[in-house]
Amino acid sequence: MEARATPARRKWGRTPMSLINLAILVVALLAIFIVIPELVAPRDPIELDVGNRLVGPSAAHLFGTDEGGRDVFSRVVYGARYSVGLAVIIVLIAALFGLMFGAIAGMGPRRLDDLMMRIVDIFLGFPALVLALAIAAAIGRGLGSVALALTIIWWPGYARLVRGEVLSLKERPHVEAARALGVSTVALLRRHILPFVFHELNVRVTTDIGYALVAVTALSFLGLGAQSPTPEWGLLIRDSRPYFGVAWWYMVFPGVMIMLTATAFSIIGDALSGHQTGEHP
């Protein structure tokens, strides 16, 4: 802990405030896209307009149009729901499961802890993408398969994080004192341990949303996830491949959105971690 307080460390780990504000702006915009896309998108994301195929960016079509004459900007706006929405859901479910698993392992007897962590190790050894392909092969393509595969990939990381935190918090004076007063294990966990675990977990979840987004779009890009004409971002890039020598905008804008979103979440996660080390007991 002392090392964190040295001026050198503080200077090295700081993100400029303007960057953080920018990241918050991006996330706020995404929230609007997800909740009320019809207010932002100028056109229908699905309906074809064959007269306007592959038109470059202009005032009428901010991000240009695709091979069906659809407005790429509108498709990107509606796509946030599928891409970012799914990433958030995956990370939250994985974090919840990892939280329960890690808390039980951390509080339980040594042998149970060993066994549970072995299980975590096995899952951490799976190559993500190939597992997703195999799952999609077995249960069929679609966003459901993507969600299942990525949740399986993601939860062990949280389990390990939570278990580590619980183990170290268990030794803290305030927990030992509560235990000596006869507080039950459940109450101990709920009132004296988990509130502190949430700090770390928040940081990780925020950063991971970006990585989950990249994974979701990658699987859709391979054709495992969303199917046409769903305006999912990875699928947009997949659909743009045949035209990418002639219509750069079709491929560029969905990719930039993925990049902006992932970076924004990672910047906010970074800022949260810096902010929270000060509050940690």
């Binding site: 090392a3 040295t6 050198a8 460390r9 200077k11 090295w12 993100t15 072995r118 190790d121 096995i122 050894g125 799976f126 190559p127 993500a128 993408l129 190939v130 597992l131 392909l133 195999a134 799952i135 999609a136 092969a137 077995a138 249960i139 970006g210 990249v214 779009t217 990658a218 890009f221 391979l222 054709g223 990875g234 890039i237 491949r241 990418f244 020598g245 750069w248 491929m251 560029v252 990719g255 993925i258 990049m259 902006l260 979103t261 992932a262 970076t263 990672s266 910047i267 970074d270």
Partner: protein
Amino acid sequence: MIFVAKRLVWALVVLFVVATLTFLLSHVVPADPAAFLAGQNASAESVARIAAKYGLNRPLGTQFLDYIGGLLQGDLGYSMRTKESVALDLIHFLPATLELLFVSFVTYLVFSFGLAIAAVRKPGGIIDQSIQLGTMLSSGIPVFWLGMALQFIFFYKLGLLPLSGRFPIRETPPHLHSGFLLIDSLIDGDFRDFWLALQSLILPSLTIVLNLLAVGTRLTRASLVAEADKPYVRTARGKGLGPRSVLYKHVLRNALSPILTVTTMQFGYMISWVILVEVIFDWPGIGLYAYQSFEVFDYQPVIALALVSTAVFSLINLMMDLLYPLIDPRVRSAGS
């Protein structure tokens, strides 16, 4: 020795669990496993033939034992698409993947160490800050999009490098000795072939290297920074050692084991995501092979690749676990 034996047993357990999992995915989860293995457009007769051939009408327990027995003999199933045993197919496509992975990973190691050291030499300096900002902004770039962007720039706009493939279609590739085109062309003594093979290799490996660097440099730098903050480093500096020998003799040596952890992680990550790069660049390796099979609903290769790549990954983890005690005496004493 006990440490080594423990790790070996553990690696075997992992493999067994994965084999069980792939069995479940191919024999239990699908509604009709025979239809699943036969592929989507198979006729009723071929489904029946498959069911009989693989004994899919027998009790699950027997099937499972057969499956494990087959795996032990190297039987990974049969591909409907290539009409070939999956094990042979994988061996056939493996060198292309290995060549790509090897070149990319070596390049990555050189650059990530170079950049991280440059950053730590002057903490908070202009190099450090731009590396930090650069890695932060680039860690969110999806690898498939990066690959396409590089194709767009270097093929469509500049016309400098080939769009995709491992060797130009109109040229005769070098004779196959090892399956690695870079080596085979040198064995033939044909430098033009070597150059052609290298040109095709540049964009796919650049995609992988940039993607790994975005995450790896950050973590390597963080390990070095954490180490450079420790009291013993201050002591070393205080007793008059120059910054160079503090960095190389103390900081780097002690930061090596966390860096090794990161590197192993990165390698596993790369094994998994190389499929994307192979698909984008039409690189004829095992990832593209599994993907093309998946596209036509031929699932045996996909299941087999899941099994094989998990096996490779746990093998690498095993090797790294055995490496730690060599680098870090602290692990040695804890392990025995």
